[in-house]
């Protein structure tokens, strides 16, 4: 294992020290491993809390700031944070207008956020609404699974819902918007190499030269199927096709080509070009795009494609100012 870390057991704590040092406008609660907006709680604004296992940076801690999240809980690598963290985050961002929990659909995340919500309900008057993101079309049959995983749409959702909360919308409206976005987004990923969890010390899976894993998640969990390595043109097709088969998309989508950590931006643009040309042929115009490593899986090589059906409202909120370490414009 080759990593720029100290002790594998300290990697999350060490990285949070780095975040605190690099971003003075954030406030890091090291005890609870929560990254807060420096000015949290913002009075009268719905507080947005997310979180999950570490190893996906910049998600979620890098998406904390005006126009996006109010707080993010950092779990161990690929391990959902614990309820105590979520309670601390929720209490720390409660500006009187309630708190939205944005939870990616993984059993651990769902259960821990559930317990946190129970604890908050028992202890305080803070109103909490939970929205679960489940946009991964690689998981076909949700009857026999824990449901679809939450992947790329999460990033777009946190940005758009963040703008809506910033506008002062009430909790119910913010939660409705979040559900609508989850409903409108679909993703699919591919891995060319495995990642290595620091505490495990070796690659999670073995992916021989010449093979790739289609339908990969963001935790090194195996995907839908293993196929021979193919040109970017065909890979793009393998990712976009199941997305388009799963939901109808019309003109005006947000197209997000996400790097999983080990794939250079050069290649992400190659993939983006192929995705854009597939969409063009399908008559689906791209209204906005995002290309880069925003929801990573440690050093895994690969990418995911997310399409989000947008409309004027979503685009306006997408374009609204955001000021976080990972996503920033208009501010």
């Amino acid at each position: 294992m080759k990593k720029l870390i100290n002790d594998p057991a300290d990697v999350v704590a060490d990285a949070l020290r780095g975040m605190a040092a690099a971003h003075p406008r954030l406030r890091v609660d090291h005890e609870n491993r929560v990254v807060f907006r420096g000015d949290a709680p913002v009075q009268g604004k719905v507080g947005l809390v997310s979180g999950g296992g570490s190893g996906h940076e910049p998600m979620h801690g890098g998406f904390v700031g005006p126009g996006m999240l109010d707080a993010a809980c950092a779990g161990e690598v690929f391990t959902s944070p614990v309820p105590d963290q979520m309670v601390a985050a929720t209490q720390g961002v409660d500006g009187g207008a309630g708190v939205l929990h944005i939870v990616k659909n993984y059993t651990g995340d769902v259960m821990n956020f559930e317990m946190a919500a129970e604890l908050v309900a028992a202890e305080s008057g803070t109103e909490v609404v939970t929205v679960v993101v489940d946009d991964d079309v690689a998981v076909t049959d949700s009857l026999y699974t824990a449901g679809r995983r939450g992947v790329g749409t999460t990033v777009l959702l946190e940005k758009i819902v963040g703008a809506a909360a910033e506008e002062g919308r009430p909790l119910a409206a913010v939660a409705d918007l979040a559900r609508r976005i989850d409903d409108s987004g679909r993703s699919m990923g591919v891995a060319l190499t495995s990642c290595t969890v620091p505490a495990a010390g070796k690659p999670t899976f073995d992916l021989p030269e010449g093979e790739m894993e289609i339908g990969i998640g963001i935790h090194g969990e195996p995907g839908r199927r293993r196929v021979p390595l193919a040109p970017a043109r065909e890979v793009a097709q393998m990712l976009v096709e199941p997305i388009l088969a799963d939901r109808e998309f019309t003109d005006g989508v947000i197209c997000f080509v996400n790097g999983l950590g080990g794939t250079p931006l050069l290649e992400l643009y190659v993939v983006y070009a192929e995705v854009a040309s597939i969409l063009e042929k399908a008559g689906i115009g791209i209204a906005r795009s995002l290309v880069g490593p925003y929801m990573t899986s440690l050093e895994m090589a690969g990418c995911s494609v997310t399409l989000l059906q947008a409309d004027d409202e979503l685009l306006r909120l997408w374009d609204a100012p955001v000021d976080t370490p990972g996503l920033r414009w208009g501010a």
Binding site: S80, G108, V197, A200
Partner: protein
Amino acid sequence: MNPEQLTAWLQRFAELVHEQKDELTALDSAIGDADHGSNMDRGMTAVVAALAEAPPADAAAVLKKTGTTLVSKVGGASGPLYGTLFLRMAGAADGGFAPALRAGFEGVLARGKAEPGDKTMVDALGPACDVLDAGGSLAEAAQAAADGRDATVPLVARKGRASYLGERSAGHADPGATSTALLLRAAAETLS
């Protein structure tokens, strides 16, 4: 059940988890995300430390401290599930080990909504409870848990992270069922 016995049980479980940490993680690498060994090790190390720091006065307190420590230290799926197991056991500690474990098991079912055969820790815990309820020994319960773990090998996962693999999840033991088998083995070694 006295607090010293339970503490010995949990210490032994912690030992076994620590010893088998890499194996648990290897199982989780095959059908999950390669963290079950470190999750359980982190949690049980914290449990042992918490119990040593301020030894609880009664059995219920030992179980409660164990449950809350696991909930606050583990995360992932196993944190809430094992945490709930011990918290529910604490609530039913008065009736002895078998009913307490049954109550814990019901807590796991309620929290995780898995059914037997979904290839989860339920498949090791359920058979162990059944043996104990039928008057079997802890050694027999531990064997039932181990058999339950082995029986998860051919199963296709329907809950948790392994369920994303569909058919590809078959052929590997479930990591949570494997750690649960260790829990029962520790019980047989310390509580008999």
